[in-house]
């Protein structure tokens, strides 16, 4: 456990040392959402109909970018092999890395999202729900994404393959996330979607590290 903490701290140090890398996801999110908002007719009705879905799509794309480099650096500079030899169990290692990455890259995005929600004229409760669903959702996306990152490590055509692999796994999160926000927006309730989102998040945070660990062993061959 303490070892996982050490790794977690190292990852955080790396994030702090190169904040630009971590924040690029945030930047991409803001860019993507703003450009979308700009590219359409700024009618409140239209914006409101679009908002939840568009913001969630942007968050999903940013997570895809976050996840792409989860193990890349460690693999390239030989750290991954050393980690395999360390007494730290591999799933714990994956969890520590994913969590640090989530904190560094996805959390800022979550915190900023209400501002972007304003851009899309989201209503009060939807504005509150947006960061909540995004927090749960991006956690699930990053952890599930770690499986894809581990599977495609060092492969030709990595990034395309990554998105192809993750697409089917990401769609449910996207659907329930966007539905929840849209539900809050229209006042027709969001509890069902939110609890499914929470379940997805819980399951992926717990089980994805084991799957990723198995895939990482393969990648080091």
């Amino acid at each position: 456990m303490t070892l996982a903490l050490v790794l977690f701290k190292r990852e955080c140090a790396l994030v702090l040392r190169k904040p630009g890398d971590a924040l690029s996801a945030l930047f991409f999110f803001v860019l993507c959402a703003t450009l979308f908002a700009l590219s359409i007719n700024p009618e409140p009705q239209l914006l409101r109909a679009l908002g939840p879905g568009a913001l969630w799509v942007c968050a999903l794309l940013s997570s895809l970018i976050v996840v792409g480099e989860l193990f890349e650096g460690d693999w390239r500079d030989g750290t991954l092999e050393q980690l395999l030899l360390s007494p730290l169990p591999l799933p714990a290692m994956v969890a520590a890395k994913a969590l640090a990455r989530w904190l560094g890259s996805a959390l800022p995005l979550v915190l900023v999202s209400p501002l972007l929600g304003l851009q899309f004229e989201l209503s009060g409760s939807a504005l509150l729900l947006l960061p909540l669903t995004l927090a749960l959702g991006t956690l699930a996306l990053v952890f599930v994404g770690s499986i894809g990152a581990a599977l495609t490590l060092g492969l030709r055509s990595g990034s395309m393959l990554l998105s192809l692999l993750l697409l089917p796994l990401y769609i449910p999160v996207l659907i329930f996330g966007a539905l929840a926000v849209a539900g809050a927006q229209s006042g027709s309730g969001f509890e069902a979607e939110l609890s499914i989102l929470a379940a997805l998040c819980l399951l992926s945070v717990f089980f994805a590290p084991f799957a990723s660990a198995a895939c990482l062993e393969l990648a080091c061959e």
Binding site: Q185, S188, A192
Partner: protein, 147 residues
């Protein structure tokens, strides 16, 4: 207990707990509404917002279909046997659309309480039988069950 064993046991317990919580959450979700379409009751009791596109599903109320002169403009009512919502639609209807049959309409609920549909879908049930059998059933007083 051997520390290795203990760890493993702990892990299994945690896994079971996670699965348990997750299934509780999911079951909770199915008890509330998670839908492709809303029912007329939900619309009537204002459980859904009215200023955005939504879908309403139910049965077309028998005798409610009125076609305008051109034949392209239709109005009918959709009901779930408790409440019904009047619907206006301009366009081509699917073949299976008929009185007493299932339908799903997509559109916006107007201020006048009339639902302005932009798309009308037919929803049929899982029964398949020859027409004679359906007639026989009907004569026997059994209506074909709708979902």
């Amino acid at each position: 207990m051997h520390p290795q064993r203990k760890k493993r046991l702990l892990l299994v317990v945690a896994a079971l707990a996670v699965i348990g919580i997750a299934s509780a959450l999911i079951l909770n979700a199915f008890r509330s509404n998670l839908v492709f379409f809303h029912t007329p009751t939900e619309v009537a009791t204002k459980q859904v917002a009215t200023d955005r596109t939504l879908r309403i599903g139910g049965l077309v109320v028998p005798g409610s279909i009125e076609r305008s002169a051109g034949g392209l403009q239709v109005s009918f009512a959709v009901s779930d046997k408790v409440h019904s919502v009047p619907v206006r639609y301009q366009g081509i209807l699917p073949d299976l659309f008929n009185e007493g049959k299932g339908t799903v309409v997509q559109g916006v609920l107007g201020a006048d309480g009339v639902f302005q549909a932009s798309q009308v879908l037919a929803k049929h049930d899982e029964n398949y039988m020859p027409p004679e059998a359906a007639d026989a059933l009907e004569r026997a007083g059994q209506t074909v069950v709708q979902p």
